[in-house]
C-alpha cells in the first residue's frame, strides 16, 4: 500500500511527491493526461517548441541568496541554484494611457519610475512596501481582508492603484477586481520585489528536473490515470477509483485538483459543496512566432501589462474576450547569453468560459481566428507592430485551460476563496496547489512542499 497518493502531476503535486519520496515514503502521483505539468506544460507543433502557462518564473533570486521563496524552495527540493538555470528578465512595463511604469528585478527602478510619474505618491508607496514585506511568505496565510483597502491607506491616486493591481491580478487574481490581502503581499513581493526569470529552455526544463528528481527518489508516476471518485469511510479517505476501472489504496491522499473539483470527487453527483463558489476568471492566449527576435523591431520588454483606459477592469467579460487589457510576453527578452533564435510573442487577455464553451467546432475555430486578430490589433497600440513578422500562430482558450487544469470555468487561478490550511473534511485527505492559495510556478511548488511538510511527513 502507498503511504501517499497524489492527484495531479502539476507543479504542486510534483513538489510534494519529491518531498515525500526523499523521505522514503511510498508515493504515487496520478495524472489524467499523458504529460505532466498541468497548466504549465509544453508541446511541439510544426517542429517548434511551445510553452503553455508560464510566461516567466516569479520570485527571482540570485545565486547565493538565502532568504525568500525561491531559495527556500531550492533547499527543500534539494536543487542547486544552477539546476533551474534561471535567467533574469531584461525589464517589464505597465502601460496605461499616457503613463508607463518600467520595472525590473530591482525595486529601485520601479520606485524611481513612480517617483517621477507620481511624485506625490512615492512616500506612501515606500511605506506600503515596508508594511507588506514583513508579511508571512511561507504560504500558510490567512484571509486578511481586501488588498484594495490596504493599498488605499497608502496610495490615493486611482491611476497608480490600477497600475499596481494590473500585473498582480493578471498573474494571480482569483477574484474579480480585488485580491485578498495575503495574496496581494505574496504577489507584490514575487513580481515587484523579486521579479521575473526564465530558463533558456522554458518550462520543459523545470518539469524535466522535477520529474527526474521524483523518479530518481523512487517515486511512481502514472499517466493517463484520471481519478473519478474518492471513497471514504468513517471520516477517512480509503481509496480512489480510476477512469480505467481500477482502484488504488493509500494511507494518505493529496489532491491538487482544486477545492471544488476535489470535493466533487468525494461525493456522489448532486451533492457537491455549492456554497463554495467556483472561479470565474479565465484567459485566452495568442502565440505568434516571429521571423526575427522582437528586439530587432525595437521591442526589448520582457512583459508588458497594458490597459487602454485609466480604470482597469478585471472581470469575466460579456464578450468572448476583453481586448481592452492584456499581457504581452516575449520569451526572447530575458538576459540570455545566446539569443533564442526565432521570435515569440504571447498575449494573454481575459475571456468568458461559457461563451467559448457554447460554440460548435466550426464557430470555435472561426472565433479563434477572429479574436486572434483583435487581440493583436489591441496589443500593438502598446508595443511595436510585429504583424508583418508573424510566420506561425497558435491560440489557447478557456476550454484549453479547463482541459489541462481540470478547473471549472477554465479558472486559471482557481476558486476565489482559498483553503490555506490545506485540510478537508476527511482526516487523511489534503489539498495543495492553486486552491491552497499559492499561484505561479514558485508558489505552486511551495504549496506542494508546505503541505507535504505539514501533514504528510509526520510520525511513522
Amino acid at each position: 500500500m502507498y503511504d501517499t497518493v497524489i492527484i495531479g502531476a502539476g507543479m504542486s503535486g510534483l513538489a510534494a511527491g519529491i518531498r515525500l519520496a526523499h523521505y522514503n515514503k511510498r508515493v504515487c502521483i496520478l495524472e489524467r493526461h499523458k504529460m505532466v505539468g498541468g497548466l504549465n506544460s509544453y508541446y511541439q507543433q510544426s517542429g517548434r517548441n511551445y510553452d503553455v502557462g508560464l510566461h516567466a518564473i516569479t520570485n527571482y533570486a540570485q545565486k547565493g541568496t538565502k532568504t525568500g521563496p525561491l531559495s527556500r524552495l531550492l533547499r527543500h527540493l534539494r536543487f542547486k541554484w544552477e539546476e533551474l538555470a534561471l535567467v533574469p528578465q531584461i525589464g517589464s512595463t505597465i502601460a496605461f494611457p499616457g503613463v508607463s511604469l518600467r520595472f525590473a528585478n530591482d525595486i529601485a527602478l520601479f520606485e524611481s519610475e513612480i517617483a517621477r510619474n507620481f511624485p506625490v505618491q512615492i512616500d506612501g508607496f515606500r511605506k506600503m512596501i515596508g508594511e507588506l514585506i514583513d508579511y508571512n511568505q511561507i504560504g500558510m496565510g490567512t484571509d486578511g481582508g481586501s488588498a484594495r483597502e490596504f493599498v488605499a491607506r497608502h496610495i490615493s491616486d486611482p491611476l497608480l492603484t490600477e497600475m499596481l493591481f494590473c500585473p498582480l491580478l493578471y498573474y494571480g487574481g482569483a477574484r474579480e477586481n480585488d485580491m485578498e490581502f495575503a495574496q496581494f503581499c505574496i504577489m507584490f513581493r514575487s513580481i515587484f520585489l523579486e521579479g521575473f526569470a526564465r530558463p533558456y529552455q522554458g518550462v520543459r526544463l523545470i518539469l524535466q528536473k522535477l520529474l527526474q528528481k521524483f523518479k530518481g527518489l523512487g517515486g511512481e508516476l502514472r499517466l493517463r490515470a484520471g481519478v473519478t471518485e474518492i471513497l471514504s469511510r468513517n471520516g477517512r479517505a480509503e481509496k480512489l477509483l480510476l477512469e480505467d476501472g481500477g482502484e488504488i489504496h493509500a494511507k494518505q491522499f493529496l489532491s491538487s485538483a482544486g477545492w471544488r473539483e476535489t470535493m466533487r470527487l468525494c461525493y456522489e453527483s448532486g451533492k457537491t459543496q455549492e456554497q463554495f463558489p467556483a472561479g470565474r476568471l479565465s484567459f485566452v492566449e495568442t502565440i505568434s512566432v516571429l521571423r526575427h527576435d522582437p528586439k530587432k523591431l525595437g521591442h526589448d520588454r520582457t512583459i508588458v501589462f497594458y490597459n487602454d483606459s485609466p480604470s482597469f477592469v478585471y472581470e469575466k467579460p460579456d464578450s468572448l474576450v476583453d481586448v481592452r487589457s492584456g499581457v504581452i510576453c516575449s520569451p526572447n527578452n530575458f538576459d540570455y547569453a545566446e539569443p533564442l533564435g526565432e521570435g515569440m510573442i504571447r498575449i494573454t487577455a481575459l475571456a468568458n468560459y461559457d461563451r467559448w464553451a457554447s460554440l460548435d467546432e466550426k464557430q470555435y475555430r472561426l472565433e479563434k481566428m477572429r479574436w486572434y486578430d483583435r487581440m493583436i490589433d489591441s496589443a500593438v497600440r502598446f508595443v511595436p507592430d510585429f504583424r508583418n513578422q508573424v510566420i506561425d500562430t497558435d491560440m489557447f482558450t478557456p476550454l484549453t485551460i479547463r482541459r489541462f487544469t481540470g478547473h471549472e470555468n477554465g479558472a486559471v487561478y482557481g476558486a476565489p476563496e482559498k483553503k490555506y490550511d490545506g485540510r478537508t473534511h476527511l482526516d487523511n485527505l489534503y489539498v495543495c496547489g492553486t486552491d491552497q492559495g499559492m499561484v505561479g510556478v514558485v508558489g505552486s511548488l511551495v504549496s506542494g512542499v508546505t503541505i507535504a511538510n505539514k501533514y504528510l511527513l509526520g510520525g511513522e
Binding site: N24, K66, R75, R78, K80, W81, I138, N453
Partner: protein, 81 residues
C-alpha cells in the same frame, strides 16, 4: 558516535540542504537561524534527515533544543552512542 562524528553528520545534512553554503566557518555556539538563515521549515528538514539517516526520533517539543551546533551535538549524543 563521537562528538566529532555527530558534528560531521549534522554538517553533512546541512550541506545537503544548502549546497551553496560554506560551512567551514560555522560557529558552533551561534544559532543556525542567524548564521545560515534557516527558518522553521529548514529546522524540520534537519530533524527529518536525522530520522531518515540515523533513525533518531525527536519529539516536536524538543525541536527548539536543536538551535545551535553545540546544542544539537549534545542533544543527539545519547541517541547516537
Amino acid at each position: 558516535m563521537t562528538n566529532e562524528e555527530i558534528r560531521q553528520a549534522v554538517i553533512d545534512i546541512l550541506s545537503d540542504i544548502s549546497p551553496d553554503e560554506d560551512l567551514s566557518n560555522l560557529d558552533d555556539a551561534a544559532p543556525f537561524r542567524d548564521q545560515l538563515q534557516l527558518d522553521s521549515m529548514d529546522v524540520m528538514d534537519i530533524i527529518l534527515e536525522l530520522r531518515k539517516r540515523y533513525r533518531v526520533n525527536i519529539p516536536e517539543d524538543d525541536y527548539g533544543k536543536l538551535d545551535t551546533m553545540a546544542h544539537t551535538v549534545e542533544y543527539l549524543k545519547p541517541h547516537l552512542s
